[in-house]
């Protein structure tokens, strides 16, 4: 099916978000049973916002590339595939390099919770100023507003979502263009082989 992955994400993301919100006790149905440090709470919200926004961006970027092709506006600006690989294209679905990097990255960000399960993961953004205030210094100017924890979650998620949409759109557009190019090449090769 064409939209299989979008569909999976469209179901999985809201579900996980709903479960997460429920677990944190933001809904009236059950009390909070998931206790997370505030910074981690924000992080998980921002990641979900980012993935969702990137998916939507990817969808529209891909569509746009296809539409550009239909209107005949898209030209093959990118012709980088070496001719040898062009003719017989074997798509590699698994790359060891990326798999290793992904595992390392996940390990880096999961390890802290295993090593330091009781830590509060307070931000260094707060610890630095604290150390200064311990010296007896008081800031001569304070921000003209402060955010509550929920506001912070919303605004940080918004920031990640804005960036995620742009990244997703860009990636989708490029991948869409490349897919069209590959289709054309396949068609061309087919024609050539028929003539022969």
């Amino acid at each position: 099916m064409k939209y299989k992955y979008y569909l999976i994400l469209a179901v999985a993301l809201p579900t996980s978000l709903l479960m997460y919100i429920t677990a944190l006790g933001f809904t009236p149905w059950v009390g909070a049973f998931l206790k997370l440090p505030p910074e981690t709470e924000t992080l998980l919200f921002t990641i979900q916002a980012g993935v969702g926004a990137a998916t939507i961006g990817h969808f529209f970027g891909y569509k746009r590339a296809k539409k550009g092709k239909k209107n005949g506006k898209l030209e093959h600006e990118e012709t980088i595939l070496p001719t040898a690989t062009r003719e017989k294209k074997k798509r590699k679905t698994f790359s060891l390099k990326y798999a290793v990097l992904l595992v390392v990255m996940l390990a880096i960000f999961i390890a802290p919770f295993i090593i330091n399960p009781t830590a509060n993961f307070s931000g260094t953004d707060g610890q630095g100023p604290q150390a200064i205030q311990d010296q007896g210094y008081n800031p001569w100017l304070t921000p003209f507003f402060t955010l509550s924890h929920t506001d912070e979650i919303l605004l940080f998620s918004l920031q990640v979502a804005i960036g995620g949409t742009i990244i997703g759109y860009f990636v989708g557009h490029e991948r869409g263009k490349r897919a069209i190019e590959e289709e054309d090449i396949a068609r061309l090769n087919h024609k050539v082989s028929q003539k022969e």
């Binding site: 990118e78 990255m105 960000f109 993961f121 260094t124 630095g128 990244i167």
Partner: protein, 231 residues
Amino acid sequence: MHIQEGFLPNPWWEIWWLLAIPIIAYGVYKLSKVTKEFPEAKPLLALMGAFIFVISALKLPSVTGSSSHPTGSGLAAIIFGPGVASVLSAIALVFQALLLAHGGLTTLGANDVSMGIIGPVIAIAIWIIGRKARISNSVVVFIAVALSDLATYVVTSAQLALAFPTAAGVFDSFLRFAAIYSITQVPLAIGEAILAVFLFDFLAKYKSKLLSSMKVIKLPVSEEGEEVHTQ
């Protein structure tokens, strides 16, 4: 590396602002030059801005039991140069200062010097050295981005140490702040570097023509986005 509003006393925030302004101005000049010379690089520019936006909003946990932000400006420096990276960082910092009460307008100069200028300069320096030595692009991007991220926090520690020396002197104070900022940052720098490698490989694969005309990489590239060194 966000120094909060009002946490730099009188002479210091002006000094960092004065240092940052000419470089941001140079970055704006560079930005207009790049967009004129390569109009097709505009989406790439948006992508780099978005990367900084996303990366600098993530408060990631670290093994030390605290959490911090990566910066995201190293990759922008590799592709567009440190001048443009300083402008993109400044945009993200203004957004965070005005909407998120995170960082501040008076400390923006200092924050941009650490995140948008010195970090990117380190990144581009390592990138140039690595290319001269003909090391694989992914490896160079990884090292450059990781060290630029770390350098950002070392600079922040130095900025705070200069403003708040302890009785034992500036260096003692620097070590104290570095203990807060830099050690937390080590795993985050590695994480950011991995993300940057993913994005750079994607660009090398899909935007190789543009990147080579911008003299970032050389054609031809293999299907994995690595350059093929002939000869």
